[in-house]
């Protein structure tokens, strides 16, 4: 590597290379110089070598070389530069400072003066071979703002030492803690201008400066574009340090700092104690250890603070320390900024602060109102106590200035904002509320109104609004423009008022160009003065019923016509012949009575107040008769009654409708109403009208000569239901009808036009029947609607006899149904029906009896043959004739001898007490009387055929028969035990209630040794069937009155049966009359004919 190549390659140290360490640069420089010296020495040993030139200010080059080996410290060198005026220097050192050479290549020879074997070294030098290494910069001042944790650095660029304008790069480093941790490295740009310039740099530390020392150093790099040599960074300046507060202990930082919400912040705590924990609210944060026991915590995205700030607490083993951070917002742009004036003396600007900053007290937002034309400003002073702060500022109106350009600036520790408004103050006038309202009379219809309005309004006109209120009238607004004054007093005239009327005046004002109305002033009431009444009173007249006296009525004048307080009235009645007057009738009196003759009079009424009299109101006294008049009815609309009539051209004056309560005697007058002559209807309304009250309306038409009654109408403004029920009585009652009669309801209680009656009736007793839901269409309630009002009675027919009925009567009007009135009525008993009900069955029974009798009589032979055939006489039996003699003559032969025995009897027992126990006919044995006890019926002579069987008691087994007969028990005592009944199947017990045995008189009885062996008798019953009547057994109908069949048939006649029937009770029951023969068919009676049941 030749020196030329070494020097010809200028070092171009860019800014990016500035970070190269100084040792490296030095090494490179040395390397270049060595190349240069190697070349200059010409490969000869003992010659000076390694010529190196640097410059710090481009004005002088500092060249040095390396002495040849063996050269002492005090060796002398002859240095010569060709092409220079002074070309050689004799130096006793190995470096020299030469003025900067002009561009070009110069040959430099360095030759040691003592010859110790060295030779001359020759070098070629140009600017390209020179390095530009500025001197290290010098820090003028390093200061710290602990409250903001900001370092402020000041240094001089020493531009005066540099001949040309050149760009400079500055590199600043910040080192923290004793360990010199690099926390900031920043590069700045500046320009050297040929003069010394102080440069400043500030840096805000994230860590409070109190908590750790911070050191700052800087270096520079001159980027001279005209310099062709190599440019290098200067060395670092000496470090300057801002140490933390060494004398502060146990303090947390930053203190009371205001930060934006959401920012990241580092808190530190300076202490010599061991910190155990650090927390904000509930959150503990990891400790970052600094020098010594100092610690720090990092908080990210801090949330908004409460009013007193967010507490940051550090805990040591001994105590609690902390600091407070206030996280809030910078001020919002003031919104709704508005500036106006009340009085053109002061401008009031109000605004809405917008989003709350969450910063209060000394950290709250301060506002400044700046007016750009005048350059004046006012500041908003913070009010500590009030919770609802009003944001407003007052700015004095400047003379001869109407246009204002306001800028409202909001400022707090976190920032500022502003809002502007441009106004013409004369157009932004919102006057104060007018005060001191005064009213003075001008005349009865006009007043002078004055008020006080503070302000300097001389330059503008005021638009004022007067509100005029009077009783029972809509409010009236009148606009008036007045010229502004400086004395604040204003006066206007208010006309078109009504005399003698109380008015309430209110005033509000604005500027003529209108911006805002002021508030309404307080109300000022004033009574205008009186004037002459404008009209005469409304007049009417009524004749007394005697036709001699006339009552004159008039209505008090309304306020708008009275025009003052009416003191009295004058009434005069004038005819063609005379005039009668009633003077000074005091005001409260509104009628007068005057006696008049039959002449026609014109009545005149005049009202008078303190100012004068009203025009007279006139009315004719004459009443034109109208024969064609009938009373009509009308119903009102609830608030009045509408009367209509046909147009009558004869009615030239007007119509008068008068009305009164219909219940009052005539003539009556409640009020009247006049309508125009050509009217055909009038709605009559009155506060006196009440619903449910009948009123009488009279329509009069006015002709020239007087009034004629045209219509007479009764009506209600509203119908109501009657308040009472009609009184009704029962006039007549029969078995099937009731005649009801009722009375009218008084008109006062009717409360409407009667439409009819509703009559309800139903069966019911007094205590049980309830006429509930009569209108709901109950089927058991009969309703009669009586719409014929002339009907006062009602016959209710088709009723049932001897039945209680509940009757209810109600009246109804157009207003509804009235209350009900009811009574209970019992119809009479129907005797004819009862008689008929008795007679018809009797007649039928008789008829049946007769027919039966006739039939029996006619068929008596058949009956005889059938039921009573002739019984053959055993005596005529030839078979027995041979024994006749024996029977008659010898008592020894006793085969057919009838031994006297205990009489047998058949007894019918019934448990029902209603029916007397029927004792059957006692059949007496021709031999002996039977003992009542069966055991006693044992024959005395065992040889004789016993005719006294043991008593056999049977219960009727047929349930049907039992039911029909109640609990009847029939006890049959066999005539003779030997007479066994004909065999009957077991399955037919019901058909054989008496099958246990019966009288069988003609049975041939076998001779048995023991009559009591019933079993033997049963066993022989079939074969021992004895005598049977001469009739087929099938022809027999075993029917007894107790049998179901008998019951069902209901005919006792058919149960008579044969007198020899073993089942016939009829023939077994003896007649009551013991004298009557048993065959008379006892047991049948007429009464039985009517019995529906056999056992009844």
């Amino acid at each position: 590597m030749g020196p030329a190549s070494c020097l010809g390659r200028p070092t171009r140290m860019a800014a990016g290379e500035g970070r190269m360490t100084s040792h490296l640069r030095r090494f490179l420089s040395t390397f270049v110089l060595l190349c240069l010296m190697d070349h200059a020495s010409g490969q000869r040993k003992g010659a000076p070598r390694d010529l190196k030139c640097v410059t710090s200010d481009l004005q002088a080059w500092d060249c040095s070389w390396r002495a040849p080996p063996g050269a002492g410290r005090d060796a002398l060198y002859d240095v010569c530069i060709k092409n220079r005026p002074r070309t050689c220097y004799q130096l006793g050192k190995t470096n020299t400072k030469i003025p900067a050479l002009a561009p070009g290549h110069y040959e430099i020879t360095i030759s040691p003066l003592q010859d110790f074997g060295s030779s001359i070294s020759r070098f070629i030098l140009s600017e390209r071979n020179v390095s530009l290494i500025p001197d290290p910069p010098e820090i003028l001042r390093l200061s710290a703002n602990f409250s903001t944790s900001t370092l402020h650095l000041e240094w001089s660029d020493k531009g005066s030492a540099f001949p040309r304008i050149a760009n400079v790069l500055w590199e600043i480093k910040v080192l923290r803690t004793e360990n010199m941790e690099l926390v900031k490295l920043e590069t700045l740009h500046s320009t050297l201008s040929g003069e010394d310039t102080v440069l400043r740099w500030s840096w805000a530390s994230d860590l409070p400066l109190e908590c750790a020392p911070h050191s700052v150093g800087l270096r520079r790099y001159i980027d001279d574009t005209h310099f062709s040599g190599r440019k290098e960074w200067s060395d670092w300046s000496p470090l300057q340090t801002v140490s933390g507060s060494a004398d502060i202990q146990n303090k947390a930082f930053p203190q009371d700092k205001v930060v934006p919400v959401g920012s990241d912040i580092t808190f530190c705590f300076v202490t010599r104690e061991e910190v155990s924990s650090a927390q904000i609210s509930n959150t503990k944060y990891p400790l970052i250890h600094l020098d010594g026991e100092n610690v720090a915590i990092e908080v990210h995205n801090i949330s908004v603070s409460i009013s007193s700030g967010t507490n940051v607490v550090f805990m040591t083993n001994k105590d609690v320390y902390g600091t407070v951070i206030f996280a809030g917002y910078p001020p919002d742009i003031p919104q709704k900024l508005n500036c106006e004036t009340y009085d053109l003396k002061e401008i009031i600007c109000t605004w809405d602060p917008g989003r709350p900053t969450a910063l209060l007290g000394p950290r709250s937002t301060s506002y400044t109102l700046f007016e750009s034309f005048s350059g004046e400003s006012v500041e908003f002073k913070r009010v500590v106590a009030p919770i609802n702060e009003t944001y407003q500022l007052f700015f004095q109106v400047l003379p001869n200035q109407e246009i204002y350009n306001f800028t409202l600036n909001a400022l707090n520790p976190l920032g500022q904002s502003e809002s502007t408004i441009f106004i013409n103050v004369t157009e932004k006038v919102c006057p104060h509320t007018p005060t001191s309202i005064r009213v003075k009379d001008i005349n009865s219809t006009a007043v002078a109104l004055s008020w006080h309005l503070p302000g300097s309004f001389a330059k503008i006109k005021l638009l004022c609004q007067v509100e005029i209120n009077k009783a029972n009238s809509v409010r009236e607004l009148r606009n008036v423009t007045v010229k502004g004054v400086d004395n604040s007093n204003y006066l206007i005239a208010v006309d078109k008022l009504s005399p003698y009327t109380v008015y309430a005046f209110q005033i509000r004002c604005s500027s003529g160009t209108f911006w805002k109305w002021s508030k309404w002033s307080s109300e000022k009431q004033y009574l205008t003065t009186e004037a002459v009444p404008s009209k005469g009173p409304d007049t009417w007249r009524e004749w007394r019923s005697d036709g001699k006296n006339l009552i004159i009525y008039w209505k008090p004048l309304p306020m708008n016509e009275a025009n003052g307080k009416i003191l009295f009235y004058n009434v005069s009645c004038s005819s063609e012949e005379k005039t009668q007057s009633l003077s000074e009738i005091p005001d409260p009196q509104h009628k007068a009575e005057i006696q008049l003759d039959k002449h026609d009079y014109i009545i005149s009424v005049v009202a008078k107040n303190s100012v004068g009299s009203s025009p007279p109101s006139r009315i004719a006294s004459m009443e034109i008769p109208n024969d064609d008049l009938r009373v009509e009815q009308t119903i009102g609309t609830g608030n009045g009654v509408l009367l209509t009539w046909s147009y009558d051209p004869n009615m030239t004056c007007d119509y008068v409708i008068k009305w009164c309560n219909a219940s009052q005697p005539q003539p009556c007058l409640m009020d009247w109403k006049k309508v125009r002559a050509h009217s055909t209807e009038a709605l009559i309304q009155s506060d006196q009208f009440r619903p449910g009250v009948r009123y009488h309306f009279f329509l009069y038409g006015c002709r020239d000569r007087g009034y004629q009654l045209l219509r007479s109408v009764v009506g209600y403004v509203e119908e109501l239901a009657p308040t009472v029920a009609p009184n009704f009585t029962v006039e007549d009652t029969s078995a099937d009808s009731i005649l009801v009669k009722w009375e009218d309801i008084p008109v006062e209680e009717l409360r409407g036009f009667l439409r009819g009656y509703v009559f309800y009736f139903e069966k019911g007793e007094r205590d049980t029947s309830k006429m509930r839901g009569l209108e709901s269409g109950r089927s058991d309630v009969k309703v009669k609607n009586i719409t014929d009002l002339s009907q006062k009675t009602l016959r209710i027919a088709d009723l049932q006899g001897k039945t209680s009925y509940h009757l209810v009567l109600r009246a109804y009007t157009g207003g509804g149904l009235g209350p009900e009135k009811g009574m209970f009525v019992v119809t009479k008993e129907n005797s004819v029906g009862l008689i008929i009900a008795i007679l018809i069955p009797v007649a039928v029974a008789v008829l049946v009896g007769l027919v039966t009798s006739v039939l029996c009589y006619r068929k008596r032979e058949w009956i005889k043959e059938t039921f009573y055939p002739d019984i053959p006489n055993p005596e005529n039996c030839k078979a027995l004739q041979f024994q006749k003699a024996v029977c008659e003559g010898s008592s020894a032969l006793k085969t057919l001898e009838m031994n006297p025995c205990t009489p047998n009897s058949v007894e019918v027992l019934e448990t029902r007490t209603a029916v007397p126990k029927i004792e059957d006919t006692e059949i007496t044995s021709p031999v002996a009387e039977r003992a009542p006890d069966g055991s006693e019926a044992e024959p005395e002579n065992p040889v004789a055929v016993s005719y006294c069987p043991p008593v056999i008691e049977e219960e009727l087994a047929n349930p049907g028969a039992e039911e029909a007969a109640g609990t009847a028990q029939v006890v049959y005592i066999d005539v003779q035990s030997m007479y066994q009944p004909q065999a009957q199947p077991e399955a037919e017990p019901d058909a054989e209630p008496g099958a246990g045995g019966g009288y069988k008189p003609q049975m041939h009885l076998p001779v048995t040794p023991a009559a009591g062996d019933a079993a033997a008798a049963d066993g022989d019953a079939e074969g021992a069937a004895g005598y049977r009547p001469q009739a087929s057994g099938n022809a027999w109908t075993l029917v007894s009155p107790d049998s179901p069949r008998s019951t069902d048939s209901g005919s006792d006649a058919v149960s008579f049966g044969s007198p020899c029937s073993i089942n016939s009770r009829q023939f077994l029951i003896p007649p009551k009359d013991e004298d009557s023969p048993p065959s008379s068919g006892g047991g049948w009676s007429f009464t039985n004919f009517f019995q529906s049941k056999p056992n009844d």
Binding site: I306, S308, G309, G322, L360, S364
Partner: protein, 198 residues
């Protein structure tokens, strides 16, 4: 105890003194309730961890005023009352100082008014207690070497200079002292009230 005082007293008739003691005791009881309310409202407004039950920073004396000691109950009643009166005299300037500090931190709250009322009530109770002591013939309390107001102002200024957190701690301490001393005064006066604890 009341009898002891009465024996020593030749100033007030008994009914008047009794009424005065009753009145002062009632005032102390009322202020005890108010002081507790003030304390709770104060810690609520200071934010965490002031309102937390476990938060109990050291309680150094404030302007020479410390909390009633553990041996307070063992002292003779006149001595206790004198200590009470002294504390009540020292409290109003401290409460005023706290109010001024809180005006910077909680300017829009009712706490400021309550602190002002508390200072006024402490003065009233202190004056009433002094009157009772005088009526009982007790020796007046020793004059404080340093005016209470100046000491309080100095404490407040130091707290304010140290930052908001020390100011909050000072307020906490003062409100706690106010509560403790008013409560202590009520208890001590209760022993003078006939029928009260012996």
């Amino acid at each position: 105890m009341f009898e002891d005082f009465q024996a020593d007293s030749s100033i007030s008739p008994l009914p008047l003194l009794e009424a005065k003691i009753h009145q002062t005791h009632s005032l102390a009881r009322l202020l005890t309730k108010y002081a507790e309310q003030l304390f709770q409202e104060y810690v609520q407004l200071q934010g965490d961890p002031f309102g937390r039950p476990g938060f109990s920073p050291p309680r150094p004396p404030v302007a020479g005023l410390s909390a009633p000691g553990a041996g307070h109950a063992g002292l003779p009643l006149p001595e206790r009352l004198r200590l009470d009166a002294g504390a009540l005299a020292a409290l109003p300037p401290l409460l005023d100082a706290v109010r001024r500090l809180q005006a910077e931190l909680n300017p829009r709250t009712a706490l400021l008014r309550r602190l002002e009322e508390a200072a006024r009530r402490a003065r009233a109770l202190g004056a009433a207690l002094e009157a009772v002591l005088a009526a009982l013939g007790a020796e007046p309390r020793e004059p404080r070497p340093e005016p209470a107001a100046a000491a309080a102002a100095a404490a407040a200024a130091a707290a304010a200079a140290a930052g908001a957190f020390p100011a909050k701690l000072l307020g906490l301490r003062v409100c706690g002292l106010y509560r403790d001393w008013v409560s202590r005064t009520e208890a001590d006066l209760g022993q003078l009230v006939p029928g009260g604890p012996a």
